[in-house]
Protein backbone atom coordinates (compact mmCIF):
# COMPACT_ATOMS: atom_id res chain seq x y z
CA UNK A 1 0.00 0.00 0.00
CA UNK A 2 2.71 2.45 1.00
CA UNK A 3 6.31 2.00 -0.08
CA UNK A 4 9.20 4.39 0.51
CA UNK A 5 12.56 3.67 -1.03
CA UNK A 6 15.51 5.61 0.32
CA UNK A 7 13.52 8.84 0.60
CA UNK A 8 15.21 12.07 1.67
CA UNK A 9 13.75 15.52 2.05
CA UNK A 10 15.69 18.71 2.64
CA UNK A 11 14.01 22.06 3.11
CA UNK A 12 15.78 25.11 1.78
CA UNK A 13 17.13 25.84 5.25
CA UNK A 14 18.59 23.65 7.96
CA UNK A 15 19.51 19.98 8.12
CA UNK A 16 17.53 17.47 6.03
CA UNK A 17 14.18 16.66 7.62
CA UNK A 18 14.23 13.10 6.27
CA UNK A 19 17.44 11.27 5.55
CA UNK A 20 17.14 8.06 3.51
CA UNK A 21 13.93 6.50 4.77
CA UNK A 22 12.78 3.10 3.49
CA UNK A 23 9.48 1.68 4.57
CA UNK A 24 6.82 -0.86 3.56
CA UNK A 25 3.29 -0.70 4.86
CA UNK A 26 0.85 -3.42 3.80
CA UNK A 27 -2.82 -2.80 3.04
CA UNK A 28 -4.89 -2.95 6.20
CA UNK A 29 -2.03 -2.25 8.62
CA UNK A 30 -2.32 0.01 11.67
CA UNK A 31 0.95 1.87 12.22
CA UNK A 32 2.02 4.35 14.89
CA UNK A 33 4.77 6.81 14.04
CA UNK A 34 6.45 8.28 17.09
CA UNK A 35 9.53 10.38 17.63
CA UNK A 36 10.98 13.55 19.01
CA UNK A 37 9.67 16.93 18.11
CA UNK A 38 11.23 17.88 14.77
CA UNK A 39 12.23 14.34 13.82
CA UNK A 40 10.40 14.47 10.47
CA UNK A 41 7.06 12.79 11.16
CA UNK A 42 4.90 15.52 9.64
CA UNK A 43 7.28 15.79 6.72
CA UNK A 44 6.72 12.10 6.05
CA UNK A 45 2.94 12.53 6.11
CA UNK A 46 3.18 15.50 3.73
CA UNK A 47 5.28 13.45 1.32
CA UNK A 48 2.69 10.65 1.31
CA UNK A 49 -0.04 13.16 0.43
CA UNK A 50 2.22 14.69 -2.21
CA UNK A 51 1.90 18.06 -0.53
CA UNK A 52 5.69 17.94 -0.76
CA UNK A 53 7.95 16.13 -3.18
CA UNK A 54 11.02 14.29 -1.90
CA UNK A 55 14.51 15.58 -2.65
CA UNK A 56 15.47 12.03 -3.59
CA UNK A 57 14.04 8.52 -3.42
CA UNK A 58 10.82 6.91 -4.58
CA UNK A 59 7.39 6.87 -3.00
CA UNK A 60 4.47 4.59 -3.94
CA UNK A 61 1.08 5.12 -2.38
CA UNK A 62 -1.94 3.05 -3.31
CA UNK A 63 -0.10 1.84 -6.43
CA UNK A 64 0.59 5.39 -7.62
CA UNK A 65 4.26 6.19 -8.27
CA UNK A 66 4.31 9.70 -6.86
CA UNK A 67 7.39 10.74 -8.81
CA UNK A 68 5.51 10.03 -12.05
CA UNK A 69 2.14 11.39 -10.96
CA UNK A 70 0.93 14.08 -13.35
CA UNK A 71 -0.38 17.31 -11.84
CA UNK A 72 -3.76 16.60 -13.41
CA UNK A 73 -3.99 13.26 -11.64
CA UNK A 74 -3.17 14.50 -8.16
CA UNK A 75 -6.77 15.23 -7.08
CA UNK A 76 -7.84 11.73 -8.04
CA UNK A 77 -4.92 10.28 -6.10
CA UNK A 78 -5.70 12.33 -2.99
CA UNK A 79 -9.33 11.23 -2.94
CA UNK A 80 -8.18 7.84 -1.67
CA UNK A 81 -6.52 9.38 1.35
CA UNK A 82 -8.09 10.84 4.45
CA UNK A 83 -5.82 13.23 6.34
CA UNK A 84 -5.85 14.85 9.75
CA UNK A 85 -3.36 17.70 9.69
CA UNK A 86 -1.39 18.60 12.79
CA UNK A 87 -2.67 22.17 12.48
CA UNK A 88 -6.21 21.02 11.53
CA UNK A 89 -6.52 23.17 8.37
CA UNK A 90 -10.23 23.70 8.57
CA UNK A 91 -11.95 26.05 6.16
CA UNK A 92 -12.26 29.11 8.39
CA UNK A 93 -15.37 30.65 6.93
CA UNK A 94 -17.48 27.54 6.64
CA UNK A 95 -19.26 25.89 9.48
CA UNK A 96 -18.56 22.45 10.89
CA UNK A 97 -21.10 20.72 8.67
CA UNK A 98 -19.72 22.32 5.51
CA UNK A 99 -16.16 21.46 6.46
CA UNK A 100 -16.99 17.80 6.71
CA UNK A 101 -19.37 17.83 3.76
CA UNK A 102 -16.69 19.34 1.56
CA UNK A 103 -14.79 16.05 1.52
CA UNK A 104 -17.97 14.34 0.33
CA UNK A 105 -18.59 16.92 -2.34
CA UNK A 106 -15.11 16.40 -3.70
CA UNK A 107 -15.89 12.75 -4.45
CA UNK A 108 -19.34 13.76 -5.69
CA UNK A 109 -21.44 11.85 -3.20
CA UNK A 110 -25.14 12.31 -4.02
CA UNK A 111 -26.69 14.99 -1.76
CA UNK A 112 -29.15 12.55 -0.26
CA UNK A 113 -26.38 10.25 1.01
CA UNK A 114 -24.29 13.17 2.12
CA UNK A 115 -27.11 14.40 4.32
CA UNK A 116 -26.96 11.05 6.10
CA UNK A 117 -23.19 10.53 6.20
CA UNK A 118 -22.10 13.90 7.56
CA UNK A 119 -24.32 14.07 10.66
CA UNK A 120 -23.61 10.46 11.52
CA UNK A 121 -19.85 11.10 11.25
CA UNK A 122 -20.17 14.23 13.40
CA UNK A 123 -22.00 12.39 16.13
CA UNK A 124 -19.32 9.67 16.06
CA UNK A 125 -16.72 12.29 17.08
CA UNK A 126 -19.16 13.86 19.55
CA UNK A 127 -19.92 17.07 17.71
CA UNK A 128 -23.50 16.47 16.60
CA UNK A 129 -24.69 19.66 18.31
CA UNK A 130 -21.93 21.91 17.05
CA UNK A 131 -22.62 21.41 13.34
CA UNK A 132 -23.49 25.06 12.80
CA UNK A 133 -20.41 26.54 14.52
CA UNK A 134 -17.50 28.13 12.67
CA UNK A 135 -14.04 26.74 13.46
CA UNK A 136 -13.09 29.78 15.54
CA UNK A 137 -16.11 29.21 17.75
CA UNK A 138 -14.79 25.80 18.74
CA UNK A 139 -12.38 24.71 21.44
CA UNK A 140 -9.04 23.25 20.38
CA UNK A 141 -10.20 19.70 20.89
CA UNK A 142 -13.43 20.30 19.02
CA UNK A 143 -11.53 21.62 16.00
CA UNK A 144 -9.35 18.56 16.07
CA UNK A 145 -12.39 16.31 15.99
CA UNK A 146 -13.84 18.20 13.02
CA UNK A 147 -10.59 17.56 11.18
CA UNK A 148 -10.90 13.89 12.06
CA UNK A 149 -14.50 13.70 10.93
CA UNK A 150 -13.50 15.24 7.59
CA UNK A 151 -10.75 12.67 7.14
CA UNK A 152 -13.02 9.75 7.94
CA UNK A 153 -16.31 10.67 6.30
CA UNK A 154 -15.34 9.27 2.89
CA UNK A 155 -14.19 5.96 4.40
CA UNK A 156 -10.92 6.26 2.49
CA UNK A 157 -8.65 3.24 1.87
CA UNK A 158 -5.79 5.13 3.54
CA UNK A 159 -5.91 7.32 6.63
CA UNK A 160 -3.02 9.61 7.61
CA UNK A 161 -3.47 11.22 11.03
CA UNK A 162 -0.86 13.68 12.28
CA UNK A 163 -1.23 13.97 16.03
CA UNK A 164 -5.02 13.51 16.02
CA UNK A 165 -5.38 13.56 19.81
CA UNK A 166 -2.88 16.27 20.81
CA UNK A 167 -5.65 18.55 22.03
CA UNK A 168 -7.95 15.92 23.44
CA UNK A 169 -8.47 14.72 26.99
CA UNK A 170 -7.53 11.08 27.70
CA UNK A 171 -11.10 9.81 27.54
CA UNK A 172 -11.79 11.50 24.20
CA UNK A 173 -8.41 10.33 22.92
CA UNK A 174 -9.26 6.76 23.71
CA UNK A 175 -12.59 6.98 22.02
CA UNK A 176 -10.96 8.38 18.90
CA UNK A 177 -8.34 5.62 18.92
CA UNK A 178 -11.08 3.00 19.22
CA UNK A 179 -12.76 4.62 16.25
CA UNK A 180 -9.55 4.43 14.22
CA UNK A 181 -9.09 0.80 15.20
CA UNK A 182 -12.61 0.02 14.06
CA UNK A 183 -12.06 1.75 10.74
CA UNK A 184 -8.82 -0.16 10.37
CA UNK A 185 -10.67 -3.41 10.96
CA UNK A 186 -13.04 -2.58 8.11
CA UNK A 187 -10.01 -2.48 5.81
CA UNK A 188 -8.51 1.01 5.94
CA UNK A 189 -4.74 1.34 6.20
CA UNK A 190 -4.10 3.65 9.15
CA UNK A 191 -0.98 5.72 9.91
CA UNK A 192 -1.08 7.66 13.16
CA UNK A 193 1.59 10.11 14.29
CA UNK A 194 1.33 10.53 18.05
CA UNK A 195 3.12 11.52 21.22
CA UNK A 196 0.69 9.64 23.44
CA UNK A 197 2.85 7.02 25.15
CA UNK A 198 -0.09 5.58 27.11
CA UNK A 199 -2.06 4.81 23.98
CA UNK A 200 0.88 3.48 21.97
CA UNK A 201 1.89 1.16 24.77
CA UNK A 202 -1.66 -0.07 25.35
CA UNK A 203 -2.64 -0.76 21.76
CA UNK A 204 0.32 -2.98 20.78
CA UNK A 205 0.36 -2.11 17.10
CA UNK A 206 3.29 -1.70 14.72
CA UNK A 207 5.37 1.26 15.99
CA UNK A 208 7.88 3.15 13.86
CA UNK A 209 10.21 5.37 15.85
CA UNK A 210 11.94 8.28 14.15
CA UNK A 211 14.83 10.41 15.22
CA UNK A 212 16.48 13.28 13.35
CA UNK A 213 15.08 12.20 10.00
CA UNK A 214 15.82 8.47 10.17
CA UNK A 215 13.90 5.43 11.36
CA UNK A 216 15.58 4.14 14.48
CA UNK A 217 13.19 1.30 15.20
CA UNK A 218 10.26 -0.48 13.58
CA UNK A 219 8.48 -3.07 15.74
CA UNK A 220 5.40 -5.21 15.21
CA UNK A 221 3.29 -5.00 18.37
CA UNK A 222 5.76 -2.46 19.74
CA UNK A 223 5.67 0.19 22.43
CA UNK A 224 6.91 3.72 22.98
CA UNK A 225 10.69 3.66 23.24
CA UNK A 226 12.10 5.87 25.97
CA UNK A 227 15.71 6.86 25.85
CA UNK A 228 16.01 7.48 29.53
Amino acid sequence: MIILEDVSKSYSTGAPALNGISLHIEPGEFVFIVGDSGSGKSTLIKLLLRELTPTSGKIFVNKYDLSKLKRRKIPKFRRNIGVVFQDFRLLKDRNVYENVAFAQRVIEVPPREMRKNVPSMLSMVGLAEKYKARPRELSGGEQQRVALARALVNKPPILLADEPTGNLDPKNSWEIMKLLEEINKSGTTVLVVTHNREIVNAMRKRVITMKKGIIVSDEKKGGYIDED
Partner: protein, 299 residues
Protein backbone atom coordinates in the same frame (compact mmCIF):
# COMPACT_ATOMS: atom_id res chain seq x y z
CA UNK B 1 -20.00 17.48 -13.25
CA UNK B 2 -23.09 16.46 -11.34
CA UNK B 3 -26.01 18.87 -11.26
CA UNK B 4 -25.79 19.00 -7.49
CA UNK B 5 -22.11 19.94 -7.76
CA UNK B 6 -22.99 22.65 -10.24
CA UNK B 7 -25.68 24.05 -7.96
CA UNK B 8 -23.27 23.90 -5.05
CA UNK B 9 -20.60 25.74 -7.02
CA UNK B 10 -23.04 28.50 -7.93
CA UNK B 11 -24.19 28.78 -4.34
CA UNK B 12 -20.62 28.90 -3.07
CA UNK B 13 -19.79 31.68 -5.52
CA UNK B 14 -22.68 33.69 -4.13
CA UNK B 15 -21.85 32.82 -0.54
CA UNK B 16 -18.21 33.78 -0.99
CA UNK B 17 -19.39 37.31 -1.68
CA UNK B 18 -21.06 37.53 1.71
CA UNK B 19 -18.36 35.59 3.53
CA UNK B 20 -15.64 38.06 2.64
CA UNK B 21 -17.65 41.22 2.95
CA UNK B 22 -14.72 43.61 3.15
CA UNK B 23 -13.11 42.09 0.12
CA UNK B 24 -16.37 42.05 -1.84
CA UNK B 25 -17.09 45.66 -1.01
CA UNK B 26 -13.55 46.62 -1.91
CA UNK B 27 -13.79 44.87 -5.26
CA UNK B 28 -17.18 46.34 -6.10
CA UNK B 29 -15.93 49.74 -5.02
CA UNK B 30 -12.82 49.50 -7.15
CA UNK B 31 -14.60 48.26 -10.23
CA UNK B 32 -17.31 50.82 -9.58
CA UNK B 33 -14.87 53.70 -9.25
CA UNK B 34 -13.04 52.70 -12.40
CA UNK B 35 -16.17 52.25 -14.49
CA UNK B 36 -17.46 55.52 -13.06
CA UNK B 37 -14.40 57.48 -14.12
CA UNK B 38 -14.32 55.71 -17.43
CA UNK B 39 -17.99 56.43 -18.10
CA UNK B 40 -17.65 60.04 -17.03
CA UNK B 41 -14.81 60.72 -19.43
CA UNK B 42 -16.34 58.70 -22.14
CA UNK B 43 -19.47 60.89 -21.97
CA UNK B 44 -17.46 64.11 -21.90
CA UNK B 45 -15.28 63.03 -24.80
CA UNK B 46 -18.22 61.87 -26.92
CA UNK B 47 -19.90 65.25 -26.44
CA UNK B 48 -16.71 67.10 -27.20
CA UNK B 49 -16.29 65.28 -30.46
CA UNK B 50 -19.89 65.89 -31.32
CA UNK B 51 -19.59 69.62 -30.69
CA UNK B 52 -16.54 69.91 -32.92
CA UNK B 53 -18.30 67.90 -35.59
CA UNK B 54 -21.32 70.19 -35.43
CA UNK B 55 -19.08 73.23 -35.69
CA UNK B 56 -17.44 71.75 -38.77
CA UNK B 57 -20.73 71.27 -40.53
CA UNK B 58 -21.26 75.07 -40.41
CA UNK B 59 -18.17 75.73 -42.49
CA UNK B 60 -18.77 76.42 -46.15
CA UNK B 61 -16.67 76.92 -49.26
CA UNK B 62 -17.96 79.96 -51.15
CA UNK B 63 -17.75 80.06 -54.95
CA UNK B 64 -17.96 83.36 -56.94
CA UNK B 65 -18.71 83.41 -60.66
CA UNK B 66 -17.23 85.19 -63.64
CA UNK B 67 -18.94 88.59 -64.04
CA UNK B 68 -20.48 87.71 -67.43
CA UNK B 69 -21.81 84.31 -66.47
CA UNK B 70 -25.29 83.14 -67.53
CA UNK B 71 -27.90 81.88 -65.10
CA UNK B 72 -27.92 78.68 -67.18
CA UNK B 73 -24.21 78.07 -66.49
CA UNK B 74 -24.65 78.79 -62.80
CA UNK B 75 -27.27 76.09 -62.61
CA UNK B 76 -24.98 73.67 -64.49
CA UNK B 77 -22.13 74.36 -62.08
CA UNK B 78 -24.48 73.81 -59.14
CA UNK B 79 -25.48 70.41 -60.51
CA UNK B 80 -21.85 69.42 -61.06
CA UNK B 81 -20.90 70.37 -57.51
CA UNK B 82 -23.78 68.56 -55.84
CA UNK B 83 -22.65 65.32 -57.49
CA UNK B 84 -19.36 65.33 -55.53
CA UNK B 85 -19.10 62.85 -52.68
CA UNK B 86 -17.62 65.30 -50.16
CA UNK B 87 -20.49 67.79 -50.53
CA UNK B 88 -23.26 67.52 -48.00
CA UNK B 89 -25.30 70.56 -49.05
CA UNK B 90 -25.12 73.43 -51.54
CA UNK B 91 -26.95 76.78 -51.41
CA UNK B 92 -27.27 79.56 -53.98
CA UNK B 93 -26.88 83.09 -52.57
CA UNK B 94 -27.94 85.99 -54.80
CA UNK B 95 -26.08 89.31 -54.78
CA UNK B 96 -28.84 90.98 -52.71
CA UNK B 97 -28.88 88.21 -50.16
CA UNK B 98 -25.09 88.44 -49.92
CA UNK B 99 -25.24 92.17 -49.16
CA UNK B 100 -27.97 91.75 -46.56
CA UNK B 101 -25.99 89.05 -44.78
CA UNK B 102 -22.81 91.12 -45.02
CA UNK B 103 -24.52 94.16 -43.55
CA UNK B 104 -25.95 92.15 -40.73
CA UNK B 105 -22.96 89.99 -39.83
CA UNK B 106 -19.88 91.96 -40.73
CA UNK B 107 -20.61 95.67 -40.72
CA UNK B 108 -22.57 95.93 -37.52
CA UNK B 109 -21.82 99.39 -36.10
CA UNK B 110 -20.37 100.64 -39.35
CA UNK B 111 -23.45 99.95 -41.48
CA UNK B 112 -24.70 103.52 -41.48
CA UNK B 113 -21.57 104.79 -43.22
CA UNK B 114 -22.56 102.91 -46.40
CA UNK B 115 -25.26 104.13 -48.74
CA UNK B 116 -28.27 102.25 -50.07
CA UNK B 117 -26.34 100.76 -53.02
CA UNK B 118 -25.27 97.17 -53.02
CA UNK B 119 -21.48 97.32 -53.32
CA UNK B 120 -21.51 93.53 -53.70
CA UNK B 121 -23.56 93.40 -56.91
CA UNK B 122 -21.15 90.89 -58.45
CA UNK B 123 -21.13 88.69 -55.42
CA UNK B 124 -23.76 86.06 -56.18
CA UNK B 125 -22.27 82.76 -54.97
CA UNK B 126 -22.70 79.13 -53.96
CA UNK B 127 -22.19 78.17 -50.33
CA UNK B 128 -21.00 74.58 -50.29
CA UNK B 129 -21.18 72.64 -47.02
CA UNK B 130 -18.93 69.67 -46.57
CA UNK B 131 -19.27 66.27 -44.96
CA UNK B 132 -15.83 66.59 -43.45
CA UNK B 133 -13.72 69.71 -43.29
CA UNK B 134 -10.55 67.79 -44.04
CA UNK B 135 -11.89 67.08 -47.54
CA UNK B 136 -11.94 70.79 -48.39
CA UNK B 137 -8.69 70.76 -50.35
CA UNK B 138 -9.85 67.99 -52.66
CA UNK B 139 -13.03 69.88 -53.42
CA UNK B 140 -11.22 73.16 -54.06
CA UNK B 141 -8.87 71.46 -56.53
CA UNK B 142 -11.90 70.18 -58.38
CA UNK B 143 -13.68 73.54 -58.28
CA UNK B 144 -10.66 75.31 -59.74
CA UNK B 145 -10.93 73.10 -62.82
CA UNK B 146 -14.52 74.22 -63.52
CA UNK B 147 -15.06 76.90 -66.15
CA UNK B 148 -16.94 80.07 -65.11
CA UNK B 149 -15.71 80.26 -61.53
CA UNK B 150 -13.95 83.51 -60.70
CA UNK B 151 -12.91 82.90 -57.15
CA UNK B 152 -13.14 80.38 -54.34
CA UNK B 153 -13.32 81.48 -50.71
CA UNK B 154 -12.25 78.59 -48.58
CA UNK B 155 -11.89 79.90 -45.01
CA UNK B 156 -8.62 78.06 -44.60
CA UNK B 157 -7.92 79.15 -41.07
CA UNK B 158 -11.19 78.19 -39.42
CA UNK B 159 -11.31 74.94 -41.32
CA UNK B 160 -7.79 74.08 -40.35
CA UNK B 161 -8.34 75.01 -36.75
CA UNK B 162 -11.42 72.87 -36.54
CA UNK B 163 -9.87 69.91 -38.26
CA UNK B 164 -6.78 70.20 -36.05
CA UNK B 165 -8.96 70.50 -32.97
CA UNK B 166 -10.84 67.47 -34.11
CA UNK B 167 -7.79 65.29 -34.42
CA UNK B 168 -6.22 66.72 -31.26
CA UNK B 169 -9.34 65.92 -29.32
CA UNK B 170 -9.45 62.45 -30.85
CA UNK B 171 -5.86 61.79 -29.85
CA UNK B 172 -6.30 63.16 -26.34
CA UNK B 173 -9.55 61.23 -25.89
CA UNK B 174 -8.09 57.97 -27.06
CA UNK B 175 -5.10 58.62 -24.82
CA UNK B 176 -7.20 59.40 -21.76
CA UNK B 177 -9.59 56.53 -22.28
CA UNK B 178 -6.70 54.16 -22.85
CA UNK B 179 -4.96 55.34 -19.68
CA UNK B 180 -8.19 55.05 -17.73
CA UNK B 181 -8.79 51.54 -19.02
CA UNK B 182 -5.24 50.50 -18.19
CA UNK B 183 -5.40 52.01 -14.71
CA UNK B 184 -8.76 50.35 -14.13
CA UNK B 185 -7.59 46.91 -15.16
CA UNK B 186 -4.53 47.39 -13.04
CA UNK B 187 -6.43 48.52 -9.94
CA UNK B 188 -9.07 45.87 -10.21
CA UNK B 189 -6.69 42.97 -10.69
CA UNK B 190 -4.78 44.39 -7.76
CA UNK B 191 -7.80 44.21 -5.51
CA UNK B 192 -8.71 40.76 -6.74
CA UNK B 193 -5.12 39.64 -6.19
CA UNK B 194 -4.99 40.80 -2.58
CA UNK B 195 -8.37 39.30 -1.94
CA UNK B 196 -7.37 35.92 -3.24
CA UNK B 197 -4.01 35.91 -1.51
CA UNK B 198 -6.03 36.06 1.68
CA UNK B 199 -7.76 32.89 0.58
CA UNK B 200 -4.59 31.12 -0.50
CA UNK B 201 -4.85 28.91 2.57
CA UNK B 202 -8.44 28.00 1.78
CA UNK B 203 -7.48 27.06 -1.77
CA UNK B 204 -4.59 24.88 -0.65
CA UNK B 205 -6.76 23.08 1.91
CA UNK B 206 -9.32 22.26 -0.76
CA UNK B 207 -6.65 20.96 -3.06
CA UNK B 208 -5.15 18.77 -0.34
CA UNK B 209 -8.54 17.18 0.24
CA UNK B 210 -8.60 16.15 -3.40
CA UNK B 211 -10.63 18.85 -5.11
CA UNK B 212 -9.82 19.46 -8.77
CA UNK B 213 -8.63 22.83 -10.00
CA UNK B 214 -11.96 23.28 -11.69
CA UNK B 215 -13.99 22.73 -8.53
CA UNK B 216 -11.75 25.02 -6.49
CA UNK B 217 -11.70 27.73 -9.08
CA UNK B 218 -15.33 27.82 -10.19
CA UNK B 219 -16.81 29.56 -7.14
CA UNK B 220 -14.07 32.19 -7.28
CA UNK B 221 -14.72 32.81 -10.95
CA UNK B 222 -18.46 33.06 -10.41
CA UNK B 223 -17.80 35.42 -7.53
CA UNK B 224 -15.54 37.52 -9.76
CA UNK B 225 -18.14 37.76 -12.49
CA UNK B 226 -20.91 38.73 -10.08
CA UNK B 227 -18.76 41.35 -8.39
CA UNK B 228 -17.81 42.70 -11.82
CA UNK B 229 -21.45 42.90 -12.83
CA UNK B 230 -22.54 44.74 -9.70
CA UNK B 231 -19.41 46.89 -9.78
CA UNK B 232 -20.16 48.00 -13.35
CA UNK B 233 -23.91 48.38 -12.88
CA UNK B 234 -23.89 50.82 -9.96
CA UNK B 235 -21.77 53.54 -11.59
CA UNK B 236 -23.71 53.21 -14.86
CA UNK B 237 -26.93 54.05 -13.06
CA UNK B 238 -25.16 56.90 -11.27
CA UNK B 239 -23.71 58.28 -14.48
CA UNK B 240 -27.10 58.11 -16.17
CA UNK B 241 -28.63 60.42 -13.58
CA UNK B 242 -25.61 62.68 -13.35
CA UNK B 243 -25.46 62.97 -17.12
CA UNK B 244 -29.05 64.06 -17.56
CA UNK B 245 -28.89 66.51 -14.68
CA UNK B 246 -25.60 68.08 -15.70
CA UNK B 247 -26.75 68.64 -19.26
CA UNK B 248 -30.02 70.10 -18.07
CA UNK B 249 -28.10 72.36 -15.72
CA UNK B 250 -25.58 73.48 -18.34
CA UNK B 251 -28.25 74.18 -20.92
CA UNK B 252 -30.28 76.11 -18.36
CA UNK B 253 -27.41 77.99 -16.76
CA UNK B 254 -25.33 78.87 -19.82
CA UNK B 255 -28.05 79.73 -22.31
CA UNK B 256 -25.49 81.61 -24.35
CA UNK B 257 -23.60 78.40 -25.04
CA UNK B 258 -26.70 76.53 -26.04
CA UNK B 259 -26.50 77.50 -29.70
CA UNK B 260 -22.82 76.56 -29.84
CA UNK B 261 -23.02 73.27 -28.00
CA UNK B 262 -25.25 70.42 -29.03
CA UNK B 263 -25.24 67.67 -26.42
CA UNK B 264 -25.77 64.03 -27.20
CA UNK B 265 -28.78 62.35 -25.65
CA UNK B 266 -28.12 59.96 -22.77
CA UNK B 267 -29.44 57.18 -24.97
CA UNK B 268 -26.81 57.76 -27.65
CA UNK B 269 -23.95 57.79 -25.17
CA UNK B 270 -25.23 54.80 -23.20
CA UNK B 271 -25.82 52.62 -26.23
CA UNK B 272 -22.04 52.15 -26.45
CA UNK B 273 -21.05 52.93 -22.85
CA UNK B 274 -23.18 50.21 -21.26
CA UNK B 275 -21.82 47.27 -23.25
CA UNK B 276 -18.23 48.50 -22.92
CA UNK B 277 -18.57 48.91 -19.14
CA UNK B 278 -20.30 45.60 -18.59
CA UNK B 279 -17.73 43.78 -20.66
CA UNK B 280 -15.02 45.60 -18.77
CA UNK B 281 -16.45 44.77 -15.32
CA UNK B 282 -17.37 41.18 -16.02
CA UNK B 283 -14.27 40.52 -18.09
CA UNK B 284 -11.91 41.81 -15.45
CA UNK B 285 -13.85 40.07 -12.70
CA UNK B 286 -13.60 36.82 -14.62
CA UNK B 287 -9.98 37.10 -15.70
CA UNK B 288 -8.85 38.54 -12.40
CA UNK B 289 -10.17 35.64 -10.37
CA UNK B 290 -9.26 33.06 -13.00
CA UNK B 291 -5.63 34.12 -13.21
CA UNK B 292 -5.01 34.82 -9.52
CA UNK B 293 -6.56 31.57 -8.35
CA UNK B 294 -4.36 29.67 -10.76
CA UNK B 295 -1.27 30.98 -8.99
CA UNK B 296 -2.35 29.24 -5.80
CA UNK B 297 -3.62 26.03 -7.34
CA UNK B 298 -0.21 24.39 -7.58
CA UNK B 299 -0.59 22.45 -4.35
Amino acid sequence: MRISTFGYTLKQGLKNIFRNKIFSLATIATIGACVFLFGLFYSVVMNFQNIVKEAQSGIAVTVFFDEDISDERIREIGDLISLRAEVSNIEFVSADEAWETFKREELGEYVETFGDDNPLDTCANFEIYLNDVSMQDALVTYLESIDGIRDINKSVIVANILSSMNSLISYVSIGIIFILLAVSIFLISNTVAIGITVRKEEISIMKLIGATDFVVRSPFVIEGILLGLVGAGIPLVAIYFIYNNVIEYVVGRFTILDSLLTFLSAKTVFSTLVPISIIMGVGIGFLGSFVTVRKHLKV
